[in-house]
């Protein structure tokens, strides 16, 4: 039970942190109206409240400081200047870290924690601090002890004199219930003192005339008795005494009054009128009204709590308001994934059915085929519907990136601002999760290496503050995420030199601009002069490339000197199903993603030209494209020569190069379900995943990109190095 509430708490934290970031961003933009400020305050406050319930002390303490500062902003005691806003941003980031640590375990950066706490403390004046940490009224820390074995503890007898002030009845407090609570502590006798009751004519409505004298024999400490009266402190005259502790009683009363800043209660309550209930507002007061009634109340063990058999009607109207967000349903990811798997099986099942029907010895299968076509369309609808469940807007991811840019700017002393476009673009949840690291890396790089120092920017006639645009958009079946900075652009001479120095390329290598740019993605390449703890943690852009490749996507760089660089990440819309072309290669059935294929053609000898010893070129409408023999590059055939080169698939690589993949034949074009090879076998160069075909056989899904680079790079780079790198990654 508590576990699931804890999950709820972390889910809620995510939402609250988002709301907080959005609020702070609005404040930074100049929107500092009360509601915006309040919303941020509430978010921090709710995180603190929830964290307290689970004993997440670090989180509570930090949220508390944060909240205290924000409370002063809210009450206009503090002015939101640039410096404070930046501090609040950093505090918000740290709060997010603390939540993450609380959820996933791990240590927060204690130094950073300390710095922020003291930075926030500077804004908190000391009085406030004390007031906030003041222990609450007497008895606050009292926790009702379990019904203790009475005999063991020492019993004491307390005389309690209780006179409610008339104000007490405005607060819904009721003497009878207080006595009942007292009776839980031990053996209680109650005596009503109505001596102050005036005559009937003199009685005033709402006035309080009655007092009670109670005697409680209990083994509980005095604080337990005081705790009972906690809510009526200052609303009643209360005297608790036990044998031999007159002084203690005085102290307790003084402390009680001091806690509420009250003078000792006055004795002279106006006495004038007679007979009426002292609490006319309270109906059905079962309080003892007869004088001299001795009521013996003995505590009884509580009855077994009745298990709530029927679910109580919860009148939650989470999103009833029309202005509010659309109604949503929280579903465990597992359930959605099960559905996705089932849809995958459904699609496989469809191909099997289609195959069976094709193999049938029936004269007319047209009707069946029509129905089968309907089946296929339905399956596709279901698939799209299920995919839409997993799709989420990139907004939260982008919001997190704002933080990365802030931190990177602070660490490098540069000024950079993140502009996000297309935040509502929806992408598969897994993609969003796994995109965070590569994006972080690219953005850090953009600030660290892309954006120039303010002086350099001023000298180049640019705005001192650099701008990084983060864009998400759907582009023909894929998602494109772009990071564009307005910095100096890539220094190609330098990149080339570094690659030579590190032995990544031969000194005499002739590379075009795009090839030089893509050197950044080679393992072991880092342009940082010294390893800064920002973008160069000993890992380079190759990590980015691998992470994106693992999602079935690719990264592209383009750069214009003086104007900045653009990193594009192109990802498939879904991770589970894709359109593929089924081909045969050296007797094996394989699948090539349709998205990679520009066109297909049957070749004849006239179109093939030899180039050097190994190379062959395909001539297409007057231009030459290198041929890459799939069977050869996968090691299925030793030699790519003298084989019946049947069919060519023209594919385009990420940097715009074209290549013709030679295969033996094309069979079909169909939807295939992607089955990951993770955990089945290691990384196979040229193969991205597998699928199950209609006949139940397994077919490899090819990765044209890596096949092409693996074969063409041989001409430029050292093949062994490339291959070993590819295998290692």
């Amino acid at each position: 039970m508590t576990g699931s509430i804890l999950d709820t708490f972390f889910e809620e934290c995510e939402e609250l942190l988002e709301a907080m970031d959005a609020g702070l961003a609005a404040i930074e933009e100049g929107d500092q109206d009360a509601e915006t400020v309040n919303a941020v305050f509430r978010a921090v406050h709710s995180i603190k409240g929830g964290a307290g319930a689970f004993g997440l002390d670090d989180l509570v303490a930090f949220a508390h400081n944060f909240e205290t500062v924000f409370d002063d902003v809210r009450s206009n005691k503090l002015e939101l200047d640039e410096k404070l806003i930046q501090l609040l941003f950093r505090a918000s980031d740290h709060l997010s870290d603390l939540v993450t640590c609380a959820r996933d375990g791990g240590e927060v950066d204690q130094a950073h924690h300390g710095v922020l706490i003291s930075a926030l403390a500077e804004y908190i004046d000391e009085d406030e601090e004390e007031l906030v940490f003041e222990p609450m009224g007497v008895g606050a820390s009292f926790e009702p002890a379990p019904l203790a074995p009475l005999a063991e503890a020492q019993e004491a007898s307390y005389d309690i004199r209780f006179h409610p002030l008339k104000e007490m009845f405005d607060t819904g407090n009721e003497p009878y219930f207080l006595f009942q609570a007292l009776s839980d502590l031990g053996s209680l006798s109650v005596r009503l003192d109505d001596s102050e009751l005036p005559g009937f004519d003199a009685m005033e409505e709402g006035e309080s005339y009655l007092s009670w004298e109670l005697t409680l024999v209990t083994s509980e400490p005095r604080s337990a008795i005081e705790a009972v009266f906690e809510f009526v402190e200052g609303l009643c005259e209360l005297a608790i005494s036990s044998e031999g502790d007159e002084e203690a009683e005085e102290d307790a009363l003084a402390a009680l009054n001091a806690a509420f800043g009250l003078a000792p209660a006055e004795d002279d309550v106006a006495v004038a009128l007679p007979l009426e209930q002292p609490a006319p507002e309270v109906d059905e007061t079962p309080a003892p009204v007869e004088a001299e009634v001795e009521v013996e109340m003995v505590s009884e063990p509580e009855p077994e709590p009745e298990q709530a058999a029927e679910k109580p009607t919860k009148s939650k109207k989470e999103s009833a308001k029309s202005s509010g967000p659309k109604p949503t349903l929280r579903v465990e990811l597992d359930r959605v994934d099960r559905l996705i798997n089932a849809v995958g099986e459904l699609i496989i099942n469809h191909s099997m059915l289609a195959q069976q029907i094709a193999n049938l010895d029936a004269s007319d299968t047209r009707d069946v085929e029509t129905e089968l076509e309907g089946f296929k369309n339905l399956a596709r609808d279901i698939q799209e519907g299920v995919m839409a469940i997993r799709a989420q807007p990139v907004k939260p991811l982008f919001q997190r990136m704002a933080r990365i840019v802030r931190e990177a700017s602070a660490a490098t002393g540069k000024t950079a601002k993140l502009v996000t476009i297309g935040e509502t673009t929806e992408v598969d949840k897994t993609v969003i999760e796994r995109l965070a690291d590569p994006l972080t890396h690219i953005l850090r790089n953009a600030v660290d290496h892309g954006i120039e120092s303010p002086e350099a920017r001023a000298a180049a006639g640019k705005d001192k503050a650099g701008e990084i645009r983060l864009t998400a958009a759907h582009r023909s079946g894929s998602v494109c995420i772009e990071v564009k900075d307005d910095g100096a652009g890539l220094n190609r001479t330098k990149i080339r030199q570094i690659a030579i120095d590190k032995g990544l390329i031969p000194e005499n290598a002739e590379l075009n601009d795009s090839e030089i740019d893509n050197l950044l993605f080679l393992p072991g390449f880092s342009t940082a002069k010294e390893i800064s703890n920002l973008s160069g943690r000993g890992v380079g852009m190759d990590v980015v490339k691998n992470a994106v490749a693992a999602l079935g996507g690719r990264v592209n760089i383009s750069s214009t000197p003086g104007d900045g660089s653009v990193f594009s990440i192109i990802l498939p819309l879904t991770l589970a199903v894709m359109d593929g072309m089924v081909v045969s290669v050296a007797g094996h059935t394989m699948v090539v993603p349709i998205t990679a294929i520009v066109e297909t053609m049957r070749g004849n000898d006239d179109m093939i030209n030899n180039l050097g010893a190994d190379g062959t070129l395909l001539s297409i409408r007057g231009s030459f494209v290198p041929i890459c023999d799939v069977a050869g590059s996968l090691g299925l055939r030793c030699s790519s020569h003298n084989e019946p080169a049947g069919v060519y698939l023209l594919v385009e690589t990420e940097n715009g190069d074209r290549c013709a993949l030679a295969v033996d034949d094309i069979h079909d074009q169909r939807q295939v379900v992607i089955k990951s090879l993770d955990g089945v076998c290691g990384n196979v160069p040229g193969v991205s995943a597998a699928t199950i075909l209609g006949d139940g056989k397994i077919a490899m899904i090819l990765d044209p990109e890596s096949i092409v680079t693996a074969s063409s790079s041989a001409a430029v780079f050292d093949t062994d190095r490339r291959m070993s790198n590819a295998i290692a990654s």
Partner: protein, 124 residues
């Protein structure tokens, strides 16, 4: 008759914690996600006791108490305030609005039940 509790809190976490604790203790639990909804639900739920948060959107806890105690609804039922801070200031404000008592967050189940007992007499 179970004692009916109307809990008003904008935090889902707190609502869930309250629900778990109160239902287990045998209370009938109703909830509202902000002050406005709480006041709106009050007549239908007709609770025996109200537990309200202070910092909420739409209508804060003080507003809730004022509206419930005000002429329109004229509620006499106990209203407990859920507070994170236990500052005397805040208590005094809540009390002058007509709050019966307060529960400090984080609350433990025992002290929550204890507080309810003191204002409703409910053993649950």
């Amino acid at each position: 008759m179970k004692t009916k509790v109307l809990a008003i809190d904008d935090s889902r976490t707190i609502r869930n914690l309250l629900a778990a604790c109160l239902e287990e203790a045998g209370f009938e639990y109703h909830s509202a996600v902000d002050g406005r909804e709480g006041v709106d639900l009050y007549p239908d739920v007709a609770p025996d006791v109200v537990i309200t948060d202070i910092n909420m959107p739409n209508l804060d806890g003080f507003g809730v108490i004022e509206e419930l105690r005000g002429d329109g609804i004229n509620s006499k039922v106990p209203i407990l305030v859920l507070t994170t801070e236990s500052s005397a200031d805040l208590k005094a404000r809540a009390r002058s609005a007509g709050a019966t008592g307060w529960i400090t967050k984080p609350f433990d189940d025992d002290s929550l039940i204890f507080a309810l007992k003191r204002v409703t007499g409910a053993v649950a």
